[in-house]
Amino acid sequence: MKEEKLSYYVNKAAELNNHSFDKKIRIAILSSFTLNGFAETIQVKCAEKKIQCLTYVGGYNQYNQEILNSQSALYKFKPDLTFLFIDTRALLQDLFHHPHTISADERKSLVNEKTNEILGLTAKFSEITSSKLVLSNFAIPTFSSYGIFENKTDFGFHRMLNEINNKIADELSKSDSVYVYDFDKFVTKFGEKNVFDYKQFFFGDMKISLDHIPYLASEIMSYVIGYLGISKKCIVLDLDNTLWGGIIGEDGFNGIKLGPDPPGNAFMEFQKTLLSFHQRGIILAINSKNNYDDAIKVIQEHPYMQLREDNFASLKINWNDKVSNMKEIAEEINIGLDSIIFFDDDPVNREFVKINLPQVEIIDLPRDPSEFVNILKRLNEFSVLKITQEDQQRGKMYVEQRKRNDLEKSSPNLEGFLKQLDLRVSIKTANDFTIPRISQLTLKTNQFNLTTKRYQENDIKKFAQDKSYLVGCAQVEDKFGDNGITGVFIVNKNNPKEWYLDTFLLSCRVMGREVEKGIIGYVIKKAKESGVQYLRAQFIPTQKNKPVEDFLPNCGFKKELDSWVYSVNVPFEIPNCLTVSTE
């Protein structure tokens, strides 16, 4: 992927001053070396994604003092995300050059000492602030004075650094506030001799060459995307010359290029990579101008197709224009157009979608299919800080959803359809397993969300421990499969007479099936059992939450100034198409 020069970002950042976007993030950058231009690059990259980014850059090599002093400028800045880069030289000091002057045992104890030092610093940080911390790991130099004997040396230099990296990663793997950025892999990806330039190092203590700062910033953007919960959910694909070479309508089943020989292997590899995204929960869909019968035959029967009908949540294979198809896909899957990435080899189609649906991210696919895989692998648009069980299942769930839609179409009415679905709602409390997903739903749900309050995992943990809050979620299953945890409620119980519904949301996956009534029915029942008289709720309108607009009046809530109130003595009827159970 081509990058702009650093001067482009530095100058562009100076022009951003007055820009204001809805999405905002505060980023602090701490490092043991000069990282000039990095903050500016991040600001510009955020602005490209319509995110307003304020940055704080810590003093040169002052990271220790800034983290340890709770009154430091770092904490006064109140960052959402903090990046900490410590380079291997700073970590090891003299031993960076002379690691073999101490014994293997001493190197082993050095690993513990250094690991504890770093972990102590991260622990102190998390104690003082709620900012997430992204700690870069240590680049392992390729050089060793022992040369080819290095890996025969008992607990040698490289092994020692590997151990430090692994230990830190292990210790922090369970943390939901500290993340480890694999800087060593960044160096591998771009090459040590490119990333580290001796002249720049001697000249200005720059340990990342100026040319590579934009690339580093690009990678770091993954954390911004993950933090803000704006990752893409769905890849929409064209077929001819995208999933296979050639045109099925002209070249025929046996003529298209797909298989172990070039160039068919490029398409096969591309499909395999797409499949790996599907397996981690990215939704796949097709938007192609073709005869349905020709194309579906390939998808169902071609021996080298890696993606099959069951991998696609929607298959729009017809002669309609791609914009209408795209809108239908978004509607059918029930996701925003801004959650979609579109792959199409035809520049005209791409332009047409780009002009009409600017929210869709469009990939400029080159003509050479051997480049497809790398383009896909370089996208950081799918970055999430956590992959929950629900996420891994998501790709599959949307395929089940397509089958549900087919059933709905064949059912005479909605009631009949819902009855046939055999819906089961299980209400679960907030615990270690459900908290990550609860937080994720509050961060990501835009449509069926009464108040659109965003909560990080730590916030949910605090609610769950607080006796004056009731936090729960709902898992929804039906005859086609498990939709996973798809509903959340957070109730403020401070007032013993009147509970307040702080958050009530439903994932778009299960909208339109009366599930929400099952969940609110449970909350009302709980309120009644606790001797509460009223349940108060609010609808805070946003650009996206129209689907939840009528929910409160439909459930019998009565309007009172700017909120809605339900008198819990009024019996609440849970629709009979649902079975609601509690743990």
Partner: protein, 79 residues
């Protein structure tokens, strides 16, 4: 080539090309900070496909110094 050089300097320093002359440097151009000075050197290297020595890099005080070093690297700078 001088034009190309001046344009690149102007781009990095974020000033109009017309404000660049042989005597331009950190003293006459406000945005020419030491950091921008590094950025300029590395962008010159990639634009003109040369590698300055560390002595040359440290020696740059104004545009005419850059011209001199580029010429030493075989870059022909006509006006």
């Amino acid at each position: 080539m001088s034009k190309k050089l001046f344009e690149l300097i102007a781009k990095v320093m974020n000033v109009p090309t017309t404000s660049i002359n042989d005597n331009s440097g950190p003293e006459s151009i406000e945005s020419w900070t030491s950091f921008k000075g590094y950025v300029l050197l590395y962008e010159l290297e990639s634009e003109f496909k040369v590698k300055f020595t560390i002595d040359e890099a440290m020696d740059v005080k104004k545009v005419s110094d850059i011209k001199r070093h580029l010429t030493n690297h075989g870059i022909v700078l006509n006006d």
